[in-house]
């Protein structure tokens, strides 16, 4: 019985439309994450926070007035909502980035993680604006008057992938330009980059805000797909799904994020299809976090560069080993052997 249900779901176009839309959204987000983390070296663990800002901004300004008990519902058209979301997210990214980017990589990570949680708490507590924990259970979508249900979903799928293509084109442009090179230089060797005249702090903030604005543009797409908004949606699991997809696909590669997202989401969503008896319900819910976790650990252990490596993207030849490299490698391996507790061998050195 359950197999039949699964097969029928697999063959239904609605399922695939929905899944492919989600993949498109995650792919855009992960590509943007790649720009700031993979190329820019800013390990951002708070990407869901920016998504939340964009989503809530869009939802709040486009909701028809009177539909929800909130104090602010201007009921703007969809395109205005999108622009507002982009602007708001950009502003928030600027305000967060200004202090946060001054901190070390480790602390930047913590700060962004913290900010994402702060935004979620704000969403819960500013009930007048965000309708609290209940949130909004309907979202204004474009073209609603022209298309119905399945047709609308198909149109939105095309729009989503159009956006994903735009983001891909953007990342491709960045990767081939001086901007991209400056980013990677800043990531790999900041003092050298500074000495070359790259204005590192400005570049960092610029990139962070750019990514923020772009995420603000993707957020409405997410709302069109999800069709509701409440604080529970914007949990850290979203951030880490994107990160796992990024690591899996290959950090700092160009197409890697898309590949990683496709593989990860296909896996988790297909497992969701499996009909489980009530006793195994818990295991079923646990599959998503388990998958993220296991994939992350395994990929980092066995192929940390991911499926598509940066080298392939940028066509760099492996540096030829110099004598210094060989000597350093020998010393490193000796120290590793010592580190494994071979104290006796240490004497033999």
């Amino acid at each position: 019985m359950s197999t039949l249900a699964a097969i029928s779901a697999l063959s239904s176009p609605t399922f695939w439309v929905s899944l492919l839309t989600l993949i498109g959204i995650y792919a855009s987000v992960t590509m943007l994450l790649n720009v700031e983390s993979g190329w820019g070296g800013m390990w951002d663990l708070g990407i869901v926070g920016l998504l939340a800002i964009g989503s809530y901004t869009y939802t709040i300004v486009t909701n028809p007035p009177g539909e929800f008990e909130v104090s602010y519902a201007p009921g703007w058209p969809v395109w205005a909502g999108i622009l507002a979301a982009m602007l708001m997210t950009g502003i928030v990214a600027f305000l967060v980035g200004l202090p946060a980017l001054r901190a070390r990589r480790e602390y930047f990570l913590i700060i962004t993680f913290a900010f994402a949680e702060v935004f979620r708490q704000l969403a819960i507590n500013l009930g007048d604006l965000t309708h609290g924990t209940v949130g909004f259970n309907s979202v204004a979508r474009p073209f609603e008057s022209f298309f119905q249900r399945d047709a609308l979903r198909a149109v939105l799928l095309v729009v989503t992938w159009g956006a994903a293509l735009l983001v891909y084109a953007l990342t491709r442009r960045i990767s081939r330009s001086g901007y991209g090179r400056a980013l990677r230089a800043m990531r790999d060797n900041e003092p050298a980059a500074l000495s070359l005249g790259i204005r590192v702090s400005r570049l960092r903030l610029q990139t962070f805000v750019l990514v923020g604005v772009a995420i603000g543009g993707i957020a409405p797409l997410y709302m069109w797909w999800l069709r509701y908004a409440n604080p529970n949606v914007f949990r850290a699991q979203f951030t880490f799904t994107a990160w796992t997809a990024l690591v899996l696909g290959g950090i700092a590669s160009r197409f890697g994020p898309v590949l990683g997202v496709a593989v990860l989401l296909l896996f988790t969503e297909l497992v969701e299809l499996i009909d489980v008896p009530p006793e195994l319900r818990n295991v079923h819910v646990a599959v998503h976090p388990l998958a993220i976790g296991l994939l992350l650990v395994l990929v980092l252990r066995f192929r940390p560069e991911g499926l598509l490596s940066e080298r392939r993207t940028f066509g760099e030849r492996a540096r030829r080993q110099t004598a210094l490299d060989v000597a350093m490698a020998a010393v490193a391996s000796r120290l590793r052997r010592l580190g494994r507790g071979d104290a006796v061998r240490a004497e033999a050195l």
Binding site: W43, Q121, N125, E190, W243, V285, L296, L300, R340, G341
Partner: protein, 365 residues
């Protein structure tokens, strides 16, 4: 005023977990996000032992600590040792991955419903504000006395140099300033709290349950024992050596792998202890317990800085105090926001942490 007691309780319970986290961070160089999940797993384990096996809460706690300690060692060997050389970011994301695996395991095994814990706290002791202040002053004097005694009694030069860290906690310039500021902040909070609630010498305005007092003392005791362990035992010295310079420690013949295992054991056991306490205090456990707590632990550890265990504990207690006393003026829902606000503020004023003995401020990477 009662909020101060709440704050001390929150901070005290978190101190154990935070100290474990800080220990792992300093020795293994990992921001161990999965620490929060170890806390949750320890909590769940003890709840199962109490409700299903009918164990006494203390026994359940100890069993949970031991089991999680062993699990921690196993995970350290299997998951972290192979990637040890890869650098901080790989380690961090491995820890995050592990956190999700444990989180998934918790959901799979225990489900997402709330599990209540029927544990009594014992009779409530009532006391007044001046009595409370007296106790605090006595405790501080006692601590200073013990520290001074230890610093001077130790004959072996290396012991003195390191146990002298206790005294250094008060002596180091930057730390002294930080501690002074922290004391001022605490006093101000204290005074403001009494103003809001009314100050009465005979008024039995404060109360604490025996069980809660027990929790604070246990947590404090655990951290203190760890400090003694680190300062006065051979293994403790090895641990500190490995934390400051692993390559040199290995060359000197310190069994780095054994030290690593000990660190994982202690860290995970402390997380379990905190988990049990949090579960008992709340009266129940739910699956997001790990994620809820890891951010506060992270903040407290960063706040405390690298360099001293007591500093991290002090930071945890301070953070707990800030979170709960702020409830007097800010809605309780914003507790976490207060914690992060404190963290972010400190990261800009003193990036190496409040009680760090390192003077070098940490620059942007």
């Amino acid at each position: 005023m009662q909020h101060v007691i709440f704050g001390l309780l929150t901070g005290g319970v978190l101190a154990a977990a935070t100290v474990g986290f800080a220990l792992i961070r300093q020795t293994e160089n990992i921001l161990h996000i999965a620490h929060g999940q170890m806390l949750a797993l320890g909590a769940f384990l003890s709840v199962i032992l109490i409700t299903n096996a009918g164990m006494n809460v203390f026994v359940a706690g100890v069993v949970s600590m031991l089991v999680m300690g062993v699990l921690g060692v196993a995970l350290g060997i299997v998951v972290f040792r192979p990637v040890k050389d890869e650098g901080g970011n790989v380690l961090l994301f491995t820890s995050i991955g592990l956190a999700f695996v444990i989180y998934g395991a918790i959901i799979a095994i225990f489900g997402t419903v709330l599990r209540p814990v029927p544990v009594g706290f014992g009779p409530r002791i009532e006391f007044s504000v001046p009595e409370f202040v007296l106790v605090l002053v006595l405790a501080a004097t006692l601590a200073a006395l013990v520290g001074w005694l230890l610093a001077n009694r130790s004959r072996r030069a290396e012991h003195r140099a390191v146990v002298g860290r206790w005294a250094e906690l008060w002596a180091a310039r930057g730390t002294g300033v930080a501690l002074g500021l922290a004391t001022v902040a605490a006093t101000v909070l204290f005074v403001l709290a009494t103003q809001s609630d009314g100050f009465g010498a005979d008024n039995r305005a404060l109360n604490i349950a025996t069980g809660e007092l027990g929790m604070i003392l246990l947590s404090l005791g655990a951290v203190l024992s760890l400090q003694f362990f680190l300062s006065l035992t051979r293994m403790g010295r090895w641990l500190r050596a490995a934390a400051s310079n692993p390559a040199l420690a290995a060359v000197r013949g310190i069994p780095v792998r054994v030290v690593s295992n000990v660190v994982w054991f202690i860290g995970s056991a402390l997380a379990a202890m905190a988990g049990v306490m949090i579960a008992v205090r709340r009266g129940g456990v739910t699956s997001p317990l790990g994620w809820e707590n890891i951010l506060v632990i992270l903040s407290a550890a960063v706040l405390g800085g690298t360099g001293s265990i007591m500093g991290v504990m002090a930071a945890a207690v301070l953070l707990g105090l800030a979170m709960d006393v702020s409830a007097l003026w800010i809605p309780t829902a914003y507790r976490l926001v207060v914690a992060f606000g404190a963290l972010i503020l400190v990261l800009f004023v003193r990036p190496e942490g409040l009680f760090s003995t390192r003077r070098r401020a940490e620059q942007a990477a």
